[in-house]
Amino acid sequence: MTTWSDPTIPAATTPVPPEGVPAALEARFPALAGHMKAPRPRRVFVDAPADIFLFLVDHACDVLGFDRLVTITGMDEKDAFAALYSFGHPNGCLLNVRLRVPRDAPRIPTLTARFPGGANYERELEDLLGFEVVGLAPGRRYPLPDDWPLDEKPLRKDWKPSAATATPVATVPASPAAKPSVPAAGSPAAPNAGK
């Protein structure tokens, strides 16, 4: 049966309204005080220390009702790498949890046990930035081509294309200007002209 829902009724009842998320997180994790910001309604950014990250994810999902891993954005912050996990809530709130890891050991835990659909996001971190995702089941790489060197991580700020990856794009050969071998489309000389 197709349902035509009434937009005035919220999609789902939620234990915590969007504006209450920072306070609810701080009540559970006092260490987060001063490490959160809510730049606009329904947006929360949290800098999570590595030791409480998984507890924070559990709390956000099991207690506060965040039920989707929208994506993971990896980035090179020069002094460290960061993974920004975006969790979605039925009420439209988006919780962005930033996990910083040292450049020399960019290790993060997998969340695929809870969010199996997140495997591709984690493979992207491995492929483009060189993260090591602990516990991620072995699989094909994503999204770089199979012959891309494993030690080249293009989204790192210090990445320079090597001889293997800087394949020149074929250039247009200088075509003889005098007589084109194929008449241009639409020109009177084209074979189909007048048909």
Partner: protein, 410 residues
């Protein structure tokens, strides 16, 4: 019965875009499917870091050909949020108008593709014919059928006139009549219902667990729509319904999309009739202050997320695109299980996949010369002919010249 694993793709008959599936069969029945993406990756996110915020609009718009407005909108909204730019109401209405016309043409396109995949090519011909007036409206309003180039940071690049809005309203009436016919067709046609029912089943629990978005999720009872849940543009002031369905199969996905067509038409009417007066663009700084923003946009295929981070310069430090097909790719593997091999094309088509945005694309650059190049139509044609000749392909030059001689002799 012993199991057989067959590779499908990267080039295969069900889609015009490359992706591959490893499908494990027991007889005709699919036991397991594995999806491999990445064939369209062209390094867009990296390229965006080398360009200014303004240049990136142009680049990001080309993430996808069908839902280009979804991507450029999400990107400019990120930048506007970081820079603290207030977009005028008229600009937001115009953006909404283009966004809904885009959804209209995308869903009509999908309806035709779905019809084609089940051998119902009449539906393809009809729905693509009815899609044309929508494309014409987009061309009239923006100057182009796809890649509209309407967004800029702080507003839109073109205003609309009352005469244009009247024309849109007239076309909406025509398209609505056709869409009502499709709704009726999908709801009452026995062949369509029997062909699609039970195909590509995705339970509500699996859809939630695997993170399905858009019509794919809504057909599995996920009552989620960013336009309502996290409103942007003018959606907070508009009346529309979020359409969900409990069939949880390809039939349900069809019902959801035709229902959304009617909602889009209603939104376009509301926007065109309530278009506020005023400027269409606010002044935006060239250098964007340090900060970051995440924006979600309900693209025709589902939730589209963009993340932009600035360090205070005129170029972004990081641009991230997560297109809806990537979110649905885990679900499509699940949908294939326990279906017949012959149903693979329509199951894949039912998520309305778009791999160019999923893998994120574009860079026309010559690294040896370090310059970007623009090819004219003639040069492009020349290059393709030369390429084929070098690859030992069929050379029609002699044939064409012979034909030309024959024609001129007449």
């Amino acid at each position: 019965m012993s199991r057989v694993t067959i590779p499908v793709g990267p080039q295969h008959p069900s889609l015009k875009e490359p992706e591959s599936f490893n499908i494990t069969l027991e007889g005709e029945r699919i036991m397991m499917a594995e999806v491999k993406l990445g064939y369209n990756h062209r390094g867009l996110e990296k390229a965006a870091e080398d360009r200014t915020f303004i240049q990136d609009i142009h680049l990001i718009e080309r993430v996808c050909g069908i839902c280009s407005h979804a991507h450029s909108s999400a990107y400019v909204m990120c930048v506007e949020e970081i820079a603290g730019v207030q977009v005028p109401a008229r600009a937001n209405h115009i953006r909404t108008l283009i966004g809904e016309l885009e959804r209209l043409h995308s869903h009509l396109l999908w309806l035709g593709v779905a019809g084609h995949e089940i051998g119902f090519d009449t539906l393809l011909m009809y729905s693509w014919r009815d899609r044309e007036p929508v494309m014409d409206m987009l061309a009239m309003l923006t100057g182009n059928r796809v890649n509209y180039g309407i967004n800029t940071i702080g507003g839109v690049r073109r205003d609309v006139t009352q005469a244009q809005l009247d024309q849109v309203l007239a076309v909406v009436d025509v398209v609505e009549e056709r869409v009502k016919y499709y709704v009726d067709l999908v709801q009452t046609d026995a062949t369509l219902a029997q062909r699609l029912s039970g195909v590509g089943f995705l339970s509500h629990e699996d859809a939630v667990r695997l993170g399905a978005v858009g019509p794919t999720g809504r057909a599995s009872k996920i009552d989620r729509d960013i336009r309502r849940d996290d409103p942007y543009f003018a959606y907070a002031d508009l009346q529309f319904k979020v359409i969900t369905d409990d069939h949880e199969d390809v039939y349900g996905r069809t019902l959801v999309r035709v229902g959304e067509l009617l909602q889009s038409l209603s939104i376009i009417r509301q926007v065109a009739k309530s278009m506020p007066d005023g400027p269409v663009k606010a002044k935006a700084p060239r250098k964007v202050p340090a900060g970051e923003a995440t924006v979600r946009y309900e693209a025709p295929r589902g939730e589209n997320l963009h993340y932009v981070r600035s360090t205070g310069g005129d170029k972004p430090d990081r641009v991230k695109v997560r297109a809806p097909t990537l979110a649905n790719s885990a679900a499509v593997a699940k949908m294939m299980e326990h279906n017949n091999l012959a149903d693979v094309p329509v199951i894949i088509a039912a998520i309305d996949p778009c791999f160019s945005c999923t893998d994120r694309a574009i860079r026309v650059e010559d690294r040896t010369r370090g310059s970007a190049e623009v090819l004219t139509w003639k040069e492009l044609r020349r290059r393709s002919i030369d390429w084929w000749r070098e690859q030992g392909g069929v050379d029609f030059t002699a044939h064409n010249q012979a034909l030309l001689k024959k024609l001129s002799a007449r």
